[in-house]
Symmetry: C2
Subunit: 166 residues, 2 copies
C-alpha cells in the first residue's frame, strides 16, 4: 500500500468553541484582497470581518466563505476598537512600529481583534494609539513588504496554531 | 511620546546563512498565483522556485522579487525531487493524505524542498510516492480548501519561524 494516499475534500476540523478572533480591516483598495481575506476567514472558521470600506466581495475568489463570513461595514475603525475592547477583546495591530512584538513569539489572547491596515498606508498613526499590542512579521528580502492578505494569513495561521480547536 | 510609532520601509532582517528551502511547484494554472508565490518567496529570502509550467510572472504583483528569485522551469517534477534528495533535501509535500503530519507540530529540516500541487489537482498520486513527508494544514470552515498560495504562505511562515536567521 502506498504510504501517502489522497484524502482530498476531507470535512473541516470541528471547533470545540466558536473562534473569538475578529478581523478589523481599514478600507482596502482592492476587492481581490478583500475577497481573498474572506476566503481565508472562512477556511479558518472566522465569522466576522469589520471592513471600514465599500469593497465588493467576488464570489469567484471568496467561494462559499461569502455565505459564512459576516462582513460588517462600520464607518470608522476607532469606535469599533473601543467597542470590542469593552467586550474583552485585545486589539492587536499588524504593522512595523516601535515596541512591536515578533509574531514568532507572540501569545494571542483568545479574544483578539486583529487590526489590519490598508495596502498603501498600513495602519494610520491615530489607529496605532488605540491598540494594545502591535505584532510584526520579519521580512528577509525584496520587495520587503508582504501583501496585506499574506501578512494576515501568517497572523491568522499563528492564532489557529495557538487555538487549534477554537 | 506615542507607544507605537511607524517604522515602515525598515530594511529586511539579515539572514546569517542563505535559506535552504526550495519551492517545487506543479504547473499552476494562474499566473496571479505564480506571481504571488514569487513575491512571498522574495519577502522570505527564498531564492529558488522550480515551477514545472510555463506561467509568466507579473511584475506588478511580484514586484522586486522578480529580480531576486530564480524561477527554474524543469519539464517534470519527479526528477527534480530525486536530484534534490541526492543533495540532502527532504522532500515535503503540502496535501491532505493518509500519514500526513500537522503543520502545527512539524519540525522542518533546514534543507527542505517544499512541494506544492496545482490549484485543482493538488499533488498527483505519483508525486506523492516520491515524498519523505506530507504536511497538512487544518481547515475549519467553508470553502474548506485554502488557495494554493495561502497554504504555501502558512508553510513558509512556519519554516521561517523555525529558522529565523536562515
Amino acid at each position: 500500500m502506498a504510504k501517502f494516499e489522497h484524502l482530498r475534500h476531507k470535512p473541516p476540523t470541528e471547533l470545540l468553541c466558536p473562534r473569538e478572533i475578529v478581523l478589523v480591516v481599514a478600507p482596502l483598495r482592492s476587492n481581490v484582497n478583500l475577497s481573498r481575506m474572506v476566503r481565508l476567514a472562512g477556511c479558518c472558521g472566522i465569522r466576522d470581518i469589520m471592513h471600514c470600506g465599500s469593497g465588493k466581495v467576488d464570489r469567484e475568489i471568496a467561494r462559499d466563505a461569502i455565505d459564512y463570513v459576516h462582513i460588517h461595514t462600520p464607518r470608522s475603525l476607532i469606535p469599533v476598537l473601543q467597542k470590542l475592547r469593552g467586550e474583552g477583546y485585545r486589539c492587536v495591530g499588524l504593522e512595523q512600529t516601535t515596541n512591536a512584538q515578533l509574531l514568532y513569539d507572540y501569545h494571542f489572547a483568545r479574544r483578539t481583534a486583529l487590526v489590519i491596515g490598508s495596502e498603501r498606508q498600513g495602519l494610520t498613526a491615530d489607529v496605532l494609539q488605540h491598540l494594545d499590542d502591535v505584532i510584526e512579521i520579519p521580512v528577509y528580502g525584496p520587495p520587503a513588504s508582504y501583501n496585506v492578505v499574506t501578512a494576515t494569513t501568517m497572523a491568522v495561521y499563528e492564532y489557529c496554531k495557538q487555538f487549534p480547536s477554537g
